[in-house]
Structure formats: structure tokens, C-alpha cells
């Protein structure tokens, strides 16, 4: 027997050689060592048990919760309603379908999310969608077109006529936590079995035969990797992958691998395979959408195929399973060929594993990969989103919004919003370029803007752009900026004057008023209004005073109508900012927010009925329970007659007055509006509307700096027009004339009844019994006789 090799045995026997001692001494020696080992073993067991308990608690804390993931809340736009007469080009329906993830399949629609367009029709297979309180099941429709106008709508390949089709709301933006993970949680029952089988086959074939760690898998992976001398196979089980993604970090380290294995074993001890698989399917990273990650198979199904996961075909299941290994490398958005090669490889493996028939295999191979158009832009309306969050702040904390997966339905019209953003992007730089000599070159801040649109009848906020770049400044000029309204205040003065129940002095659009300088004492100081052109215009009609935005004449009208009465009118219309009954009120020298002003203007297209602005319609939990419904709120505040008469005057502002460039630019249709420019050109405004839409544009500097000679008509009006002519290219109807209002042809200059001797006439609106009685040629303008 060879002698004991001290060197080979190492440290364990280094001190004393047992052979040199007696038997009992050696027994004692071994016994001593056995005791040491036992203590060491116990210590290892205690520490190990403690560590395992620690990991167990970690698992309990995170994994055993009913809500495993923070689900971002999602803000949705309003739905799109289609019916005969809708212009699909004006509404950019194809663009909307692309944004909603529908796929242009060319000829025949077969599955949810498909669309196909032709010269005389547009076929759409509608998605399923959970509306607040209503689960909508998608079906195929055909929209028959005459040009770009919907002529008829039917169920696809059926004769059943449809009077209305609703396209689901778009996601305006998700509200993420710091992890920025976009995820739709599904149960195992919702996932197609082919997808489950494909994932198990590719990622962990022995999933149902191991207990968290798979030694056989590890050895097999090792051999496979050694054979080709590179990493081609991993030995991690699905459970380990879940642990790595859910609890740990992706950095490679020995400690992480140990923890991964221990935790995988621990999870498998306490949870069923079904629970683990479901968690894996919801956790797994499957790609990148801008700055947020696409997590879980359900979100990935929406991202890559614009479908619910339960609607995936066999070929799509194979591709999705194949993406897990390297989502960005095999993404169909990156390369259709690469994605196809990966999918076909998975299909081959599935056929080898007898997970499909030969016929299914052939059909799946032949299926083209047709992902929807990729929408990188994650947030569309950031200022509106902030406003919505602000509206919800009292009800839901930021933490709730980031974690609970709420679905917030809003009034935003995506077509209007995108048009508004495009208008701002184009018009403000154009203005800076054209007015470069008037704008201060060394001004610290950029020219800023607000563009906001509402539906006057119900107060729905349709679009909101609170600045030219949200990335540079999150200050929302539509809702947070307090600015002087300038001449955009004038319609409320004239409304007061033309309403006999409000005005101290009876006036009509044909009344004459003196546009000649005057002074009045206000607050201990002399106040004297000036016209924009610095001139006086003598006796003018009320119409001319408003159309030309004459400050002196308007100030006289305000004082004649009563300043307190004007304040009351503004209040009734919805102006909530502080107002003082002083003469300068007529020129809009107080401050309002643009949102406040646009809401107040809604009374004009709405016949005197005030509609409160509304941005949110419903808040729904991820399970579909409606937490909150917000209703429109309307109330009659003004008699319809005077409102119509004022609106009629405001139509003249566009047709002949300070906003006549709208017509010069070729915009047709019924539209009314008012320009506004504040003193020293600090604010440029335009508020314009037709019976269906009301929009406000403001341009200025945040620090109230001057914009030399840049008026509302020059700066704000083109922005408004750019937006309005896209979203409302033609107004379908005139403002409805209420009972008690008559149209009378009068002379434009004197306001007297039209005669041949007065060729410049106009159809003027009057409240019944207030129309002029004198003919124009009988009238003599006694400039000293006016009472105003």
C-alpha cells in the first residue's frame, strides 16, 4: 500500500501525520475533526436555512401578491364614429387604422385587425374592445365610398346595412412607473395552447419534469455549447428565467446564478407549474416600444400582430415563442426575412415534436408575416395628458395611476390633436422665420403657443397643445398661463350691449356709435383708449366697430351697456378669473387662461347655452369596473336671440373684418371669430368657430415680452387656420337662427334700411321689433348727437 501522500491530501491532514501516532490518539483526532465537521455542517445548515427563509420571504413579498406587476394606466382618446356622409380622408381613417394597429392585408380581410382599401370601398375587421360597461365583439364591415365619402356601410359579405360603426379609442399615452414596462396581464386560459407548447418546447422542454433547476438540461446545454465552442443553448429553466426577470437582475454573476437556482427551487416548492407558467408568460421581455418595454405575451401579441393573444394563429404563436430568445434581433419590425427564418425554425421544431399536423405545418409556413405599422411615438398629447392627470389628482395618486392599470377614457379626438400638433410644428417656426426682423433675436425664451379645440355643444376638449415642445417646457399655456385676452374680450361687451335684458342702453347691430377719443377717470387716473391704427373713425355702426375691432367705439359701447353688466356677462359665459368693472375691461386688460376663454366662447356657437369643458368621460379598472363617469354639463345662460346677433357680427369679422385673411386664404364655409392683440403686442389671439367646432390659438412669450407689430391676425390666425382647415374643411351648416330674430337688409355705413341710393348693404340680424325703421337715405349722421 503506498504511503500516505501528504502533499496530495492538502490542508486537511497538514499538521500531524496520523500514522505516527497511536490508535486511540488517532481516533480522538478523527473524532475531533468529525465534531468540527458536524459543527461546520450545522452552521452551513443554519445559515443556509436562514438564507433560504430570506429568499422565501422575498418570494412571498413579491410573487405571492395578487398583483404581481405594476400595470400602467392608459389614457384613451374618444372613439371614432363612422356613418354615411363621413369623409374618410378628412378624418384620416386609414391613418387611424394604422395607429390602432390594424394591418393593410391588401385584398381580403379575414381576421380581427385586418383592413383592405380599394377605390370604392374600405373593408375593416374591427377589433374587440372593452368600452366602459360594454364588451364589444369585433366583426368585419365594408364601407362603400363615393370618392372619399362613406356612402353605405354593411357587414362584410352580408347585406345587413349598418347606420353607425365605432372605431375603438386610441391609446393617447400610458402612465408608467420608473420601470417603463408595458404589460397586459392574461391568465393561462386566455393563451392559445400552441403558444404555450411552442414556448415550453423552445425554452424548457423538461418544464413539467424538473423542480426548478434541471441538471439534465444543464448538462445537455453544456455539451451542445462545447460541441460548437460557443453559447448556443442555455440551461436555465423557465422558472429560473422567471426568477431572473422578476426578482433579480440580468447581469451575469455567480451569486446571481446561485440565487436564481435556489429561488427557482423555492418557487416550485410553493407554486404549481400552472402558476409559474402564467407568471412567466406575463413577465417575459418581448421587445421595445420607444422608451418602454413590451412585457408579456399578451402585450407582445398587440405589439407585433395588433391582436389579442387568444386570436393568434399558429404561425404567429411560433414567431412569438421564437422572439423570446432575442426579441430585437428577430423582430418583424427589424427584418421580415429574419423573423420568417426564426418562425420557420420554430415551426420545424414543433412539427418534429408532433405539436401540429403536416397540414397545419404547411399552412403556417405559407402564412405571410404582416405586422402593423410601427408607432414609435409613445405619448401623443403630453400637455393634455398632464391636464388629465391634474384632473385625476384628487381622486387617484400617481402611485395608483402607475400601478393599477386604470383605463381612462377622454374626450380627445386624435385626428384633431395630431392636426393641432402638426399646425404648431409648422406655423410657429414659419412665423419666426417671416417675422425675424420683428422678434428680438437675443430673447431668452422661444416664442410659445397654445392651440386648443372644443366641441361647443358638449364642452368636449378635442385637442390641446400647451406649448411648442413638451420636452423643453412642460408649462401648459392652455391651462396654466394667465394672459390678457385683449380684443377677444369684445364679443362679451357686444353681447351685453345687444341683450336688452342685460344692457343699460338698448343697442342693435345697426346702432351708430362714436369712434372718437375720450377720457374717463378710472382708479384716480385718466384713461383714454386708442385704436390699433391710431386713428379715429367717426360715427360707425356696432357691426363696424366689432368687425374692425375699434377700441374707442368698443369702450363707449361697454360703458353704455354698463361695466358691471359686462362683468356679469363674462361670468355667466364661464370666465372665473378676477374681473374689475373698469373701462379698460372693454379692451381685455384682465387675465384669463386660454382654456377659460375658449370655454366662455362656447356660448356663441351653442346658442347661449354654456357647456362646461370636460376632458375625462370615464375611469375604469383593469377588470372593467367603472370607477367614475363624468357627464357633460350644460345650462342656458343667455337668451338665444342676442347670442345669435352677436355671432352674426362675428361672422362679419371673418368675412370683412380683422380676420378677413381667413377668406383670403380660401377657407369657405360658415365661420365666426375674433382676433385679439394686447397692448405692446404681448399676446396674439384668434378664437374661431363654426357650429360644430371651436378653436383658440394664442402666441406670445412666457415672460410677456413684446412681439413688435405682431398681431393676432398675423400670428395666431394662421395657426388656427392651419388647424381648422384640416379638421373642419367645410362647415356643413350655418348657425341656426332662433325664433325672434329677423334678417333685414341695411346700409353698411348708416345702419338704415337699404335703398338703391345705398349700394353697400348687408343682411343684418335684429331681435324682432328692434330693426331700423328709417331708410338709409333718410338718415343723417349727426356726430355730435350720439348718446354713446
Amino acid at each position: 500500500m503506498p504511503r500516505f501522500n501528504r502533499e496530495r491530501r492538502g490542508w486537511f491532514f497538514r499538521r500531524r501525520h496520523p500514522e505516527r501516532r497511536g490508535f486511540s490518539a488517532r481516533i480522538r483526532h478523527y473524532w475531533r475533526w468529525a465534531k468540527r465537521l458536524a459543527v461546520l455542517g450545522i452552521l452551513i445548515i443554519v445559515v443556509g436555512a436562514w438564507y433560504l427563509r430570506h429568499l422565501d420571504r422575498l418570494i412571498e413579498d413579491k410573487f405571492d401578491q395578487p398583483r404581481k406587476w405594476n400595470l400602467p394606466s392608459k389614457v384613451f382618446s374618444d372613439a371614432e364614429y363612422l356613418f354615411p356622409g363621413v369623409d374618410v380622408k378628412v378624418r384620416d381613417i386609414v391613418g387611424k387604422l394604422d395607429r390602432l394597429g390594424y394591418r393593410d392585408v391588401g385584398v381580403t380581410i379575414e381576421r380581427p385587425g385586418d383592413y383592405a382599401k380599394d377605390a370604392d370601398h374600405l373593408d375593416v375587421y374591427l377589433h374587440d374592445f372593452d368600452y366602459p360597461g360594454e364588451a364589444f365583439k369585433g366583426f368585419p364591415v365594408r364601407l362603400r365610398l363615393s370618392g372619399s365619402i362613406i356612402r353605405e356601410m354593411t357587414r362584410f359579405r352580408m347585406k345587413e346595412s349598418l347606420s353607425m360603426v365605432r372605431l375603438e379609442p386610441e391609446v393617447v399615452a400610458p402612465i408608467f412607473d420608473e420601470r417603463m414596462e408595458d404589460r397586459t396581464v392574461v391568465t393561462l386560459e386566455q393563451v392559445p395552447p400552441q403558444l404555450l407548447e411552442a414556448i415550453i418546447l423552445l425554452e424548457d422542454e423538461r418544464f413539467f419534469r424538473h423542480h426548478g433547476v434541471d441538471p439534465i438540461g444543464i448538462v445537455r446545454a453544456m455539451f451542445a455549447n462545447v460541441r460548437v465552442m460557443r453559447i448556443v443553448q442555455g440551461g436555465s429553466t423557465l422558472t429560473q428565467q422567471l426568477v431572473k426577470n422578476f426578482f433579480l437582475h440580468p447581469r451575469k454573476s455567480l451569486l446571481r446564478k446561485i440565487n436564481e437556482a435556489l429561488m427557482a427551487i423555492e418557487i416550485e416548492r410553493h407554486h404549481s407549474k400552472g402558476e409559474i407558467l402564467q407568471a412567466y408568460l406575463n413577465e417575459i421581455y418581448l421587445g421595445q416600444r420607444g422608451v418602454s418595454s413590451v412585457s408579456g405575451v399578451a402585450e407582445a401579441a398587440k405589439f407585433y400582430f395588433a391582436k389579442n393573444v387568444n386570436q393568434l394563429s399558429l404561425a404567429e404563436c411560433a414567431l412569438l415563442a421564437g422572439l423570446i430568445r432575442s426579441p430585437n434581433e428577430y423582430s418583424p419590425f427589424r427584418s421580415l426575412e429574419g423573423a420568417k427564418a426564426r418562425r420557420d425554425l420554430v415551426l420545424d421544431k414543433m412539427r418534429e415534436a408532433e405539436l401540429m399536423t403536416d397540414q397545419e405545418y404547411v399552412m403556417a409556413l405559407a402564412e405571410p408575416i404582416n405586422p402593423p405599422k410601427r408607432m414609435i411615438r409613445v405619448v401623443t398629447a403630453p400637455f393634455f395628458l398632464d391636464y388629465v392627470k391634474q384632473e385625476l389628482a384628487n381622486l387617484y395618486s400617481q402611485e395608483v395611476l402607475e400601478a393599477e392599470g386604470l383605463r381612462i377614457f377622454t374626450t380627445l379626438d386624435m385626428r384633431s390633436q395630431l392636426s393641432a400638433e402638426a399646425a404648431v410644428d409648422e406655423e410657429i417656426p414659419r412665423l419666426e422665420h417671416e417675422a425675424v426682423s420683428l422678434l428680438s433675436a437675443d430673447h431668452a425664451g422661444q416664442l410659445q403657443t397654445c392651440l386648443i379645440a372644443v366641441t361647443p355643444s358638449n364642452g368636449y376638449i378635442r385637442a390641446m397643445v400647451g406649448g411648442r415642445s413638451y420636452a423643453e417646457s412642460q408649462f401648459n399655456r392652455c391651462t396654466q398661463a394667465l394672459r390678457q385676452p385683449g380684443s377677444t374680450m369684445k364679443p362679451f361687451i357686444y353681447l351685453t350691449a345687444l341683450d336688452p335684458s342685460r344692457s343699460q342702453t338698448a343697442m342693435t347691430p345697426a346702432s351708430l356709435i362714436e369712434d372718437r377719443r375720450f377720457s374717463v377717470e378710472a382708479g384716480g387716473e385718466e384713461w383714454s383708449p386708442e385704436n390699433y391704427d391710431g386713428k379715429e373713425h367717426g360715427m360707425v355702426t356696432i357691426r363696424a366697430a366689432l368687425e374692425e375691432s375699434l377700441n374707442i367705439a368698443t369702450s363707449r359701447v361697454a360703458m353704455a351697456a354698463g361695466l358691471e353688466q359686462v362683468v356679469q356677462t363674462a361670468r355667466d359665459a364661464g370666465v372665473t378669473s378676477p374681473l374689475l368693472a373698469v373701462p379698460s375691461l372693454a379692451l381685455g386688460t384682465f387675465e384669463v387662461t386660454p382654456l377659460e376663454l375658449v370655454s366662455a366662447y362656447a356660448i356663441f356657437p351653442n346658442g347661449g347655452i354654456r357647456a362646461e369643458s370636460i376632458a375625462i368621460t370615464s375611469v375604469v379598472t383593469k377588470d372593467g369596473d367603472v370607477l367614475e363617469r363624468r357627464r357633460i354639463s350644460v345650462q342656458r345662460k343667455f337668451a338665444a336671440g342676442p347670442v345669435y346677433v352677436t355671432t352674426h357680427l362675428l361672422q362679419g369679422v371673418v368675412d370683412r373684418g380683422t380676420a378677413a385673411s381667413i377668406r383670403a386664404f380660401g377657407y369657405q364655409g360658415f365661420v365666426a371669430g375674433k382676433t385679439g392683440t394686447t397692448s405692446n403686442y404681448r399676446d396674439a389671439w384668434f378664437v374661431g368657430f363654426n357650429p360644430e367646432l371651436l378653436a383658440l390659438a394664442w402666441v406670445g412669450y412666457d415672460d410677456n415680452a413684446e412681439m413688435k407689430k405682431i398681431t393676432g391676425a398675423r400670428a395666431a390666425l394662421p395657426l388656427w387656420l392651419h388647424f381648422f382647415r384640416v379638421v373642419s374643411p367645410r362647415s356643413p351648416q350655418d348657425f341656426p337662427r332662433p325664433k325672434g330674430v329677423v334678417l333685414v337688409e341695411v346700409d353698411r355705413h348708416t345702419g338704415g334700411l337699404a335703398r338703391r341710393s345705398c349700394p353697400e348693404t348687408i343682411d343684418e340680424a335684429f331681435l324682432e321689433d328692434t330693426e331700423p325703421t328709417q331708410a338709409c337715405d333718410e338718415m343723417t349722421i349727426d356726430e355730435s348727437a350720439t348718446s354713446f
Binding site: L37, G85, P132, E134, S163, S272
Partner: protein, 161 residues
Amino acid sequence: MRRNDHRRICNIILKWFLMLVVAMTMVHCAKVSRPGHKRLPSEERKDIPPSERSEEQLPTTPDASTPRRVASQQLVDKGIASLDAGNTAAAMESFQEAINIDATNGIAYYYLARSTYEGGQGSSALGFLDQAEALLGDDPAWLEEIVALRDEIAGEGESLE
């Protein structure tokens, strides 16, 4: 011989220790049997039921000429069915949608007023009646309905006072 004894004892001790470690590891890794360990989950799915529609005869519209109005009226009809079924919230949702499609549909405002009133918000309902009156005021039959509902709401308000 003595040397062999020593080695045997040493081996036995080591063997026992290793067996202890292996046994503990096995106990630790032992799988707790639970239901749900099956190859694939159940595939039972619940179909979403079709939305309920009332077959009841619904009021006719005075101005059903434009497609926009027809589309809007479809939602009004749906809302009326919900109202008849006692689902005020769903009815209000439908009427609001109907107004969203066609802001000049006075009937939608009338029924929104009615459902809002039945939902216990009489003061809000009056605003919708204002709008309904502005849009339907030319039709004596509708005007009568509007006035009657307004009187009903006003009466309710007075009795509460």
C-alpha cells in the same frame, strides 16, 4: 491493518456526513404536490355575450333624414332601451354618445335630461332640457314633453324645499 481501520472509520464518517447533506437537500427540494400540475391548462373560454338590444317599439324621430342623425338616433334608441330596463347609467352613456355624434339631436338631450333626473340629478337635467328646448322647440309635441318634464323637476325641487 490499523491503517485500514482508520481509513474505514474516516470513510464512514465522511459518507454519513455526505448522506446527511444529500438527504437535507432532497428534503429541501421535495416537491409539494398540488393540483394544477398538468401539461396544459383548461381551454374553456367564456364568450362575450352580444349586447342586449331592446325589441320594443321606440319613438320616431322628427328629423331622421341625415345619416348623422340616424347614427345618433341608434344610440338614443339603445339608451331608451337601457332606461326602460332600469339601467340609468348605461342609458346616460348612450345619450351622451348620441350627442357626441350629433350635437343637434334634441331628442338625445331630452332623454339625457330624463335619465339624469331619474338618476337623481334634477338640476343638471334642467340644463339638458334647455338644450332640448332650443333644438326641439318648434315641435309642439316635444315642447309639451319638455315643459312637462321641467315642471316635474321643478315640482320635485319645491317639494324637497
